[in-house]
Structure formats: C-alpha cells, structure tokens
Amino acid sequence: MQKKLAWFLQHMRREWQIYVLLAPTIIWFILFLYKPMYGLQIAFKDYSIFRGIAGSPWVGFEHFQTLFESDTFVRALKNTVIISALSMMFGFPMPIILALMFNEILNQTYKKTAQTLVYLPHFISTVIIAGIVVTAFSPSAGIVNTIIGWFGIEPIYFLTKPEWFRPIFIGSGIWQEAGFSSIVFLAAIAGVNPSLYESAVVDGASRWQMMWKITLPSIMPTIIIMLIIRIGNILEIGFELVILLYQPATYQTADVINTFIYRQGLQGGQYDVAAAAGLFNAVVAFVLVMTANTISRRVSRTSLW
C-alpha cells in the first residue's frame, strides 16, 4: 500500500502535465453529459422546479405507464420507426451507389466537380433546407406545383398533407446527405488492392463485372459498419428538420419521439414525462447498437469496438 502510494506520487510528480491536459475534457464530459444522466432520475419522479431533482418525490414507473397509454406517444414511436426504416431503405444504398459510380469516372476534373456539387448540401443548415423545401413546395409560388401544373394537376398544399410528409422529409434527407456520406465508401474503395483489378483485366473482365465482383465485395466491411451505426441510430431522426417542416395538420405521420419530447417537455413544461420518453429512447437505442454490433462480430468478424 505504502509502496503503491509512493509510486503513484512519483508518477504524478513526473507526469502531472498529462493530467492537466486531460482535466478540461473530463470536467466537460462530467458537467455536460454525465450530470444530465444523474438528472434522468426525474423520469421516475414527480418533478417540480421548486423541489429540484433530488427533492422531488419518487413515483416509480408511473410516467412510463402514462406514455404507453397515450396515443400521441405510441404514434410518435410508430412514426419514428417507420420514418427511420423508410429512410434507411431509400437512403442507405444511395451513398454506396454514388461511391461506386464516382469510382468509375475516368476524367478527374469531371469527378472533382461532381463531388464538389454533391457534397455541398451537407454543409447547409437544416433551417435553410427547410426554407428551400417550404419555398419549393409552396402551393402558389413553388416550383413543384408549377411543374405538376404543366400536366394539368391542381396545386397541392404539400406541407399540410399527412401523406406527403414522409416522401418530402426522406427525399430532402437524401438530397442533403447522400453525396457527403459517399466519402466513407470512396475512402474504402481507395483501399482496395489494385492487383485484384489487374488480374481481373488479364482475365478479360468488364468494368461492370469488376465493380460487382471486386469493388463491392471489398468494401463490404465498411458497408456493414455503416449499417450497424445506422441501425443503432434507428430512433435518431433528424428531428430538427421535422420541427421545421411539420405542423398540426401533419402530426399523424410526422410526429416522432424527439419532437414529442420537445413539445411535452420544453414547450409544455412536463419535464418528467418527457424525460421518461427520452430515457426509453436512449435505452432502446443503446440495446440496439450493442446487439447490432454483437451480431456483426459473429457474422463477419467486423465490429465497431
């Protein structure tokens, strides 16, 4: 014991600078990410601002019961899963296809220019995206209604129609992120062993065949990693865009867990119920990402950690 202490003191005397460098990061994580975890207990309490987090009385699982008896929450949960699954179905293959296509472009200037253009929307604020969507889909002025007008279709007020919310939301998500997400796959393609292509050329393989038989299988590990991340985040929807685009008329298809939490908690002041919804969200997400990783490790020996 004495020896260990002496060793520790000597270590600290010699290496204290490292701990000084580490301290701000750890303090920040405790203050802004771990302290809120302590605050999560209000999900099991009848929280009042005056009594504070520690002083509010316990109520057990009452808030969770309230949540699952509430149609709004169940609807939000359903919408979250549906929107997420749909955007995964349509959005996940896009960057992979784009990366494969970029890889087949021989003219470097053309490739660079096209990449510059498709990466750009990633750097644009959600508010701007929403502004563009609102303008483009506006019933009187919007380009979309102008175009469908050429075919004799009456203007549609898209953003008030529940059936249009999901296509518009998912479409703008693909428009914004498909290009930039392809970078990860392009980096993986850059790492493919060139000798594979050389021997394929000797065997007379066409470019199409090489893309299918060499490039795609070679980047499979990256695809699996990205898929795991995506599945783990199935409850994470770009809810900022939802908040900007939805309105009471479209809640039935648009309201997701995070927008529900925002309305109940931050706008409605029902912090405890909203925190319970958030906790439910976080626990399910945690289990999902862990499970996905375990499965992936078994199946392909590819895992995140």
Binding site: P36, M37, L98, M101, I124, G131, R207, M226, G265
Partner: protein, 293 residues
Amino acid sequence: MAKMNLYSRGDKLFVIANMVLIGIFALSTLYPFIYIAAVSFSSGFAATAGKVILTPVDLTLAAYERVLSEPEFWRSYLNTFIYTIGGTLMSLIIIIPGAYALSRPQLIGRRFWNLVVAFTMWFNAGMIPFFLNMRDLGLMDSYFGLIIGFACNAFNIILLRNFFESIPASFEEAARMDGANEFQVLWKVFVPLSKPAIATVTLFCIVARWNGFFWAMVLLQDESKIPLQVYLRQIIATLSDDEEFASTLLTAPYSVETVTAAIIVCSIIPVLIIYPFVQKYFNKGILLGGVKE
C-alpha cells in the same frame, strides 16, 4: 482504376452512361440553390405566381433591400460569427489537449478515461435533462452558455486521438532529448504533424456551429443574442402566418418567398466562400478514423 484502359465497347458505354447519371445527380443537387437564388432576385408578384423556374423574372433587388435594412438581420449575422468563431476555438482548446492525453500510454486509467468519453456516443441522457442541467448551471440565454455547452463530443476526440496514436514515437524523441515537457511536445511536435486531422475537426466544429439552430432556439430568449438560423426560422414562421404582411404584398415588390430566398442566399454565401478551402481535406480517409473507434 482511373489509369486503366477501356477494354471493350461495353465498357465505353458503361463509362458514358455512368458519367451522364452522375451529371444528372450533381445538377439536381445544384438545382434547388439556383432556384432559390432566382426567386430571391425576382419580383414578389412573379414569385408568388410561380413564374420563376431557372432565372430571375422581373429582376429586382427589393427582397434584399428589405432584408438588409433590418437591424435584426445584421445583429443575428454578427451573432452567428461570434458563436462560430468562439465555439470553434473553445472546442479546439478542450479537444486537442484531451485527445493528446488520451493517446498517451503512460496515462493511468487510460482505458477508463477513454470509456468515459466513448460511452457518451452510445448513451445520452437526452434533451430534457440536458436542458435542465443548462438551466441549473445558469447557462441559459448567454453567449458563453451556448459556446461552452456544445464544445466537445466523443466523435471529434476519438478522431483526433486515433490520429495522435498513429504518429510514431520517433518523432517526439528529439524533442524529449532537448528536455521538452508535455505541453511543448504537444504544441511543437504533435499539433504540426496533425494538421489534416485538426483541420477536419475544425471543419466539423465550424459547420456544426454555423448551422446549429435547435439549442440556440431553446436556450436563448434575448432577441439580440439569436444567431442567423434562428432569425431565419422566425422570419419564415411569422411571414407565412402574418395576414397583415400578406395583405401588403399586393403592393410590395417582394413577397414571403423572395424575402425568405434572399435570407437563404445571404446565409449560404459565407459557406460557399470557405467551402473550396476546406474541401481538399474530405477525401483523405481521415473521416474513417473516427468511425472505426
């Protein structure tokens, strides 16, 4: 791949079809921006009547005159710069030393400290506890609160830590021989060698700050502190609901659409200016460093 010769007619057809498809995709990515720019320079009447498709109709600067004459617009523009520059500097000041310390083999409890950071990627307390915490810390409605509250995240730290770990020990040996302490080794050896990784993290911070709106909207009450994105949201929300404004449109040379479009253009311009400078860092595979943990 690019150096390879074309093999057959089938290959040629494939390459050309591919180029055309990519071209179409790239242009359709670009189109909404062109459309918005065209609307912003069109007259309110033309925009409302849905006449704008590709180029401005009845070219006018009326929407810009309206936007640029609002002091609130300039105030929020300035605020966005404060949050972006202040927030990015704060992030770098915390993240670079932290990532360096976490990459050092002699750090006691290194696995534990790394887990403390990484765990937050998998489990998050969520919106409400974070909000209540910010309120308890007295960080509501202040520049400092918004800057410090979002200074770190696990992804950036891990990305940078992995890069530091990949630097061979031989690089720091000369500095150690000269009696350099940890601060000097970090500043004179690791930081210069890690420029691409630091540039990537800086870029992520700038983009997140420039675009961030949700927490600014939630945490800031004082109108004079809101950033451009929150201002834009308010304009979109109030203009489209405001009956009075709508009725003035019959005579005004601008409309809800042209004013919104003009603010969008003003907000995108700084992004377009710095975009070419940072773009060269994208393709280096550094992004993967963070993903692979």
